[in-house]
Amino acid sequence: MLTVDGLFTEYASAGGDTVKAAQDVSFTVDEGQLFTLLGPSGCGKTTTLRSIAGLERPRQGSITVNDRVVYSSSAGVFVSPNQRGFGMVFQSYAIWPHMNVFQNAAFPLEVGGRRYSRQEIRDNVMQVLTAVQLDQLADRNATTLSGGQQQRLALARALVMKPALLLLDEPLSNLDAKLREKMRFELKRLQRELKITTVYVTHDQGEALALSHEIAVMHEGRIQQIGSPRDIYERPATRFVADFVGSSNFIDGTVTGAAATPDGCVVVRTEIGDVTVRSLQSLVADERVGVSVRPEDVELTEDRPAGGNVWEGRVDQKVFLGEAVEFQVKVGARTLLSRRHPTLRTKIGDAIFVQLDPEKCVVLKVA
């Protein structure tokens, strides 16, 4: 459906330097999928989205939507944004303050290439306003809307012309935490119902994991990993991905000489001792690697558990978070972070046993 191939976008910063915003970005999004570009500020995700929209002019690469080339450096094609027919929701929502709710939503039908009759405009707008539950407020002045309503109006305006592609630029980041959670479900429901192909930009990993069919994690202009939310979370490809999506314990070490066991397990020699991990990658002896373990996968027990991968440690710090307790456990000189159910009430300074499931330990190659 959407194919972005070898995209490079650069622009001059205020200081006159060239900012390499998107570097060799390639991905495809299938019909009806929600694809997320995830990354920290300045990673190039918004620039990539704006390049798809046509609001930035890339230097190189190509962008194709439904076999229609909207940008290609080799063919010299650049379709201006108003000819692309994509819907977009901006971070600020960009609701026009001089128009009411209806007029805002009707604008795309009035200015587009296709002519609509008054009745068609009315029907289409009311339909889309109903879908976002704003039909009651059609005559309200746009400036009197709350943040959540503005967000829904921006969405309605982007959807009213039945766009081939929906682009969302951090649409939830201006809402307060409670509303953000609600709108996240709202957005997901709407996207799944309408089956509209969507590219979503966010820096919030929770949003990305909750909404997406597929996620691309970006860093310094480049895509680090593309995969399903579960893939990204459970099998991060790089240390950056493991660190940015969720939090992780990183334990550096070297692969011991022994070749992989038949079940795919490898022993990594680290500062806390030998850690048995399961790896699907081919590793060679003495290779330097990092082992990444999610805090929720660091098992803690007061009595020594059965099985391998067990170390004795001492509780160093505890943070009570309500639904969980975070333990900082010292194993030798190393501190491991573990997230446990609040029923575990081991006191600070007491001994505790740490166990790691080889399945949950991810080996990251050191670049």
Binding site: A12, S41, T46, G85, Y93, P97, P108, V111, M161, E170
Partner: protein, 579 residues
């Protein structure tokens, strides 16, 4: 979001291959217009300053004699010295007065001060020439009412005030510009976050230490900028030097330029040489102001929070400050208007007395209403003001869009060119345009078109300031979302940008219209009998010594302007102009 994206990324890349894009036609036209209107007259002025005077018999040739005459003689240095004295005296007087009033208004509990703030804008409406004439009627040694009253009461032999002196000039011009100082300094006081002062107090500083080490340091850029603006305004002011200075033989640059043009044969080259000097001074001033305001933002005194600064309780002194406001208002509005009103009901000008009271007459009003071409004059003024305001606001909205919202290379140059006329003193601009259209005969010289061109040039920077202030507040995404909705550039500009700019456009339109209608110093070199405007008629009546008729016209003019401003404000409020 990816915060690395600066505001000025290319807003909308060039349209696709569907041929021809209106955007570039409009942009091109506006750029060409700006270059033509702002740069060319300046170039001609320089060129003319190197030419000998042209008469019927002798052609003009290249010379440096103008500069030699202008800068070789000790007269010029006296001229320079007098101009400096006049301008700095005026600037300082206006500044001290305006700042004291602003401080009283913003930071003390003076009673009724909100009323004074509203009234402080009224003097801006009164045209400079009428204000000057009114003060002649008040303080001239021969007929000045204040002088005569003081002599009567105190039994003085000599009149105590002489308005025809450098001090008199500084008094009148300083009073006239003090509302401007008041508004600028009020804004500076208001923009300062009081928590900056409060944290100094909490650190143990007393009120003087706070004032010296925090308040003054923070408002310093605003103080210097205000004084510089007042200085530039004073050095280019024409009415006061012409009406008060020339009779007493006190010449400054502006009056010298006027006299050089009105000599026979007309010394345009000499006038141009003076004008170039004047231009250098004003350019320097404006340059420093812009440097300072650039620095000012780094002081970041704005917080945007809706705070109310703590006010100093003056105790019993607050009645003194209230009295100062009253006296100020008397000096700047009530007395000038009252004296014009009085004189307008006389047959011949007479000082108020019981005897004169019996001779009240409406003759002067009859004279004015029967004045030849009065309707024509009013029509000229109104048409010029309305067209100037409309053209200026439309052109500057496109220019400002290019400057603020695009990354077209060289856009700063466009901004610079459109702002360039701000350094032209009115008289110099009139001279430059006169010289240009005398040499390039495209049939506008002596018509109303030359006046229109001059007004548009002169007031373009003001319009640009209004549109820029509004334009930077329009979030880029408002425009981009229109593009994503499928709107072309023209549609976006018409349906999104212009409506959102409307409050700024309207406020700017009103301002430009009012300053156009009061304009004198540019028009005075460009008008012809057919293209007289209101301020020119006042000037002519003055030259003819028809004081009572002038007063009658002045009274009507001020009332009309006042009504105009009220209507404009009402319209503004109705269509959402934020004050």
């Amino acid at each position: 979001m990816s915060a690395a994206i600066p505001k000025e990324v290319v807003s909308q890349p060039v349209g696709d291959a569907r041929g021809f894009d209106w955007k570039w036609i409009v942009i091109g036209a506006c750029v060409a217009f700006t270059v033509y209107i702002a740069v060319i007259p300046l170039g001609f002025l320089f060129w003319q300053s190197f030419r000998t005077p042209q008469t019927a018999a002798v052609d003009s040739v290249f010379t440096v004699a103008n500069y030699a005459t202008a800068y070789g003689s000790s007269d010029t240095w006296r001229l320079f010295w007098t101009s400096m004295q006049f301008a700095s005296g005026t600037a300082l007087f206006a500044f001290v007065l305006g700042t004291a009033l602003a401080w009283m208004n913003e930071r003390t509990n003076t009673p009724f001060k909100s009323v004074f703030f509203a009234l402080a804008v009224i003097p801006l409406i009164i045209p400079g020439i009428l204000f000057t004439v009114a003060w002649i009627l008040l303080a001239s040694p021969q007929i000045g009412i204040i002088n005569l009253v003081m002599q009567n009461w105190l039994g003085l032999e000599e009149p105590p005030f002489d308005i025809y002196s450098l001090r008199g000039m500084i008094w009148v011009d300083g009073l006239h510009y003090s509302p401007m100082a008041f508004l600028l300094m009020s804004a500076a006081f208001r923009a300062m976050d009081p928590s900056l002062e409060e944290s100094a107090t909490m650190s143990g500083a007393n009120i003087f230490q706070v004032a010296r080490r925090v308040t003054l340091r923070l408002t310093w850029p605003a103080i210097v900028a205000t004084i510089l603006i007042l200085f530039v305004r004073a050095i280019e002011s024409f009415e006061v030097p012409a009406l008060l200075g020339l009779p007493a033989g006190i010449e400054v640059f502006t009056s010298a330029i006027y006299q050089a043009v009105h000599r026979y044969p007309s010394q345009v080259g000499l006038a141009s040489a003076y004008a170039v000097a004047l231009l250098l001074i004003t350019t320097g001033g404006v340059y420093w102001v812009s440097k300072l305001s650039g620095r000012g933002s780094q002081y970041a005194t704005m917080t945007g929070k809706g705070f109310r600064p703590r006010q100093i309780d003056l105790g019993g002194w607050r009645w003194v400050t209230a009295a100062i406001f009253v006296v100020y208002f008397l000096l700047i509005v009530v007395l000038p208007f009252a004296v014009l009103l009085w004189s307008s009901f006389q047959r011949f000008y007479a000082v108020p007395s019981m005897e004169a009271l019996q001779n009240l007459t409406l003759d002067s009003y009859r004279f004015i209403l029967d004045y030849p071409n009065l309707t024509r004059t009013i029509w000229n003024s109104v048409v010029l003001a309305v067209s100037t305001a409309t053209i200026v606001m439309l052109v500057t909205s496109v220019i400002c869009w290019i400057v603020v919202k695009t990354s077209i290379p060289g856009r700063w140059l466009l901004d610079g060119m459109a702002s360039l006329p701000i350094v032209f003193p009115g008289l110099v601009l009139g001279l430059a345009i006169m010289v240009f259209y005398l040499n390039v005969d495209i049939g506008v010289y002596g018509t109303i078109w030359i006046m229109l061109i001059a007004y548009v040039t002169r007031f373009m920077p003001y319009g640009l300031r209004y549109t820029t202030t509004s334009m930077v507040q329009i979030h880029k995404e408002l425009e981009e979302s229109a593009a994503m909705s499928g709107a072309s550039w023209g549609t976006t500009f018409r349906r999104i940008i212009l409506p959102l700019l409307k409050p700024g456009l309207l406020a700017g339109w009103i301002y430009v219209m009012i300053v156009s209608i009061r304009e004198l110093s540019t028009s005075i070199l460009l008008y012809s009998p057919d293209t007289q405007v209101m301020s020119i008629v006042i000037w002519e009546l003055w030259e003819n010594g028809q004081y009572v008729e002038l007063s009658a016209l002045g009274v009507l003019f001020i009332i009309a302007l006042f009504v105009l401003v009220l209507i404009a404000q009402w319209l503004g409020r109705k269509y959402g102009v934020k004050e």
